[in-house]
Structure formats: C-alpha cells, structure tokens
C-alpha cells in the first residue's frame, strides 16, 4: 500500500493495481452505488467485450471485492455482480487517494516556485 509521504507520481504507481485498472474501477464504482448489477449493465458501462469483462470480474471475485451469481433466465445465462464490504471500502479509499493526489498536483506550480505561462512551466528564478 502506498505511503502518504511519497511523491505523488510514485504513489500513483504504487496504487492498488487491482482496483486502479480503469474497467475494474468503473465496475466497482458503479456497483458501490447499487445493490447489484447484471453483466449487460457493466458491459455497457465499460464498453468492454464480454470475455474481457468476464476476466476482470473474475479477478475482482478472486480478490474478494465482488461476488458473482450465475443463473439462467429462461434459457439465457444471467450473471449478477454484487460488491462486498471489502470491495466497497477498497474503491472508496482508492477514489479518496486519487482525489488527494489530484489536489496535491494542482497545487504544485506555486509550491515549487514555478508558474504556468503559455502552457510551459517556467521557473520563477529564470524570469529576471
């Protein structure tokens, strides 16, 4: 787990890869706002192919972040995903960490004695 003292980009690199992957993060975030969602919803949300999404969900299930229920509605298979308490905690903490990093990076130019001019970082000392 990242420490709070590392530089922002180092902390970003050290972020929980399992949760940080965009498709898994989107799926976990959506699941944290509802009781359960089916495979079609997660597929529309992430825009992934069924096999790809299936692999991501399997990884999340393996890590204990979601539970998957597979059933048949008439003759068609129906997969429903539900976030676990651990998954909810992981995704909430991850978004908090990302927000903190974002705020820290936004306050960078002034803190480092550098300001933005014409989209270029110019150190204050060299402006004479």
């Amino acid at each position: 787990m990242p420490t709070s003292k590392g530089a922002p980009f180092e902390r970003l690199i050290a972020a929980d890869k399992l949760v940080h992957e965009p498709a898994r993060l989107a799926a976990l975030t959506a699941l944290s706002a509802c009781e359960s969602a089916d495979f079609v919803f997660l597929q529309r949300l992430t825009g992934l192919q069924p096999g790809n999404l299936s692999q991501h969900l399997a990884k999340l299930e393996e890590a204990g972040l979601v539970t998957l229920t597979k059933a048949f509605a008439r003759k068609y298979p129906q997969t429903t995903a539900r976030i676990t308490d651990r998954g909810r905690k992981a995704v909430t903490e991850h978004w908090k960490r990302l927000d903190a990093l974002k705020q820290e990076v936004q306050s960078w130019p002034r803190a480092r004695g550098v300001h933005l001019r014409s989209r270029t970082l110019i150190p204050r000392e060299s402006q004479g």
């Binding site: 993060l25 989107a26 975030t29 359960s36 529309r44």
Partner: protein
C-alpha cells in the same frame, strides 16, 4: 464526460431512476392527465380511453424490455445495515402500521383539502402522483434544480383547480403536467444514452 466516481455513480442512479418511466405508475399518471385535458376540450370518448390505456400498457412493457436488453439491470441499494436490522426484526409490525397510518393521513388530508377548496379528492391525488413522479424522474439525473419544472406544472394545474377564473383553462393545466412528465422522462433517457456512450473506459 470525465470518468470520475461521481459521474459513474450518477449514471447508475439515473439508470435506477429510469425504472419509474418503465413502470405503469408513470404511464397511469400520463394517461390520466391526457384524459383530463381531452375531457375538458370535449374529445374524450370510450374508444379514445381504451386506446390510451392499451397504449400505456404496451409502452410500459416495451420500454421495460428495451431497457433491460440495452442497458442491463440494476437493483437499488438496500438501506444501511442498522436500518436493515431494524427492518428484519420489526418491519412486519412497525413498518406496516406506519405505512397504514401515513396512507390514512394522506387520504383524510386529501378529502378535507378537497372539500374546503371545492375540488374532487381524486383530482388532488392525481396531482400529487403526477408531481411526485415527474420530480422523481428529474432528480434521478442528479440535477439540483430538476424539481423546478414539475413544481411549476403542479402549481399551474393546482391553480386551475382552485381559482374559479382559471377553471376554464384546466385542459391546459393537465396538458402542462403531461408535458412535464414526458419532458422529464425524455431528459432522463437522453442523459442515460449520452452517459453510457461517454462512460466507456
């Protein structure tokens, strides 16, 4: 739309909110307002009523099926654990009693208010149902001012019930409420379509 926790959660909640216009309650409110408007301009007859009712049932079923096929299915979040515990133990008695008392209070309030204002209680009940349905649809998008259009439409319809001079324009009031219902439903649908299009990772 940037992929943020807020945007994904808003989209999920909007999807849950869209279940309102896939249900019969929304279509019931819409049909009743259309019938109200047609009755006041003299175009309502049994054949029109039958077609309106049939259309509403078919539209609700078709929309529900379409949404499940296109956007999948989401179940709303259950109450917090403490509340769930409360429901598990006492919901049978406390929950049902509270619901019954609330319903009785609403019915009595509608009858008293209706008698005092010279309005049919059924009209007031329909007004409440329409306003709450439209507000629910509007707020599902996460819009802070989403309630403005439904509340304005309700105020106009209520004015045509209460103000004698405006009673001639009751058809307009019903038409306005029907329009508010349709507009909020379409806005929610467009929000969902755009949201799903841009949410891809």
């Amino acid at each position: 739309m940037a992929l943020t926790a807020d945007s994904i959660q808003r989209l999920t909640r909007a999807h849950l909110g869209a279940r309102v216009f896939q249900g019969l309650l929304f279509w019931f409110a819409l049909v009743q307002n259309i019938k109200g408007a047609l009755a006041h301009v003299g175009y309502l007859n049994p054949r029109v009523q039958m077609w309106l009712t049939l259309t509403a049932i078919v539209a609700a079923a078709a929309l529900g099926t379409f949404y499940r096929w296109r956007f999948g299915r989401v179940e709303p979040a259950r109450p917090l654990r403490s509340r769930r515990l409360f429901e598990d133990f006492r919901y049978g008695v406390v929950g049902a009693t509270a619901l019954a008392l609330f319903t009785i209070a609403i019915v009595i309030a509608l009858f008293v208010a209706g008698r005092q204002a010279g309005v049919r209680p059924m009209d007031l009940a329909l007004l409440l149902l329409s306003a709450s349905t439209a507000t629910s649809l509007a707020t599902s998008r996460g819009e802070r001012l989403g309630w403005v259009v439904p509340v304005l439409a309700s105020a106009v319809l209520l004015a045509t019930f209460l103000v004698p001079v405006l009673q001639l324009y009751r058809a307009l009031g019903h038409a306005g409420m029907a329009a508010a219902l349709v507009v909020t439903a379409v806005q929610l649908h467009l929000f969902l379509v755009r949201g799903f299009r841009h949410a891809h990772v």
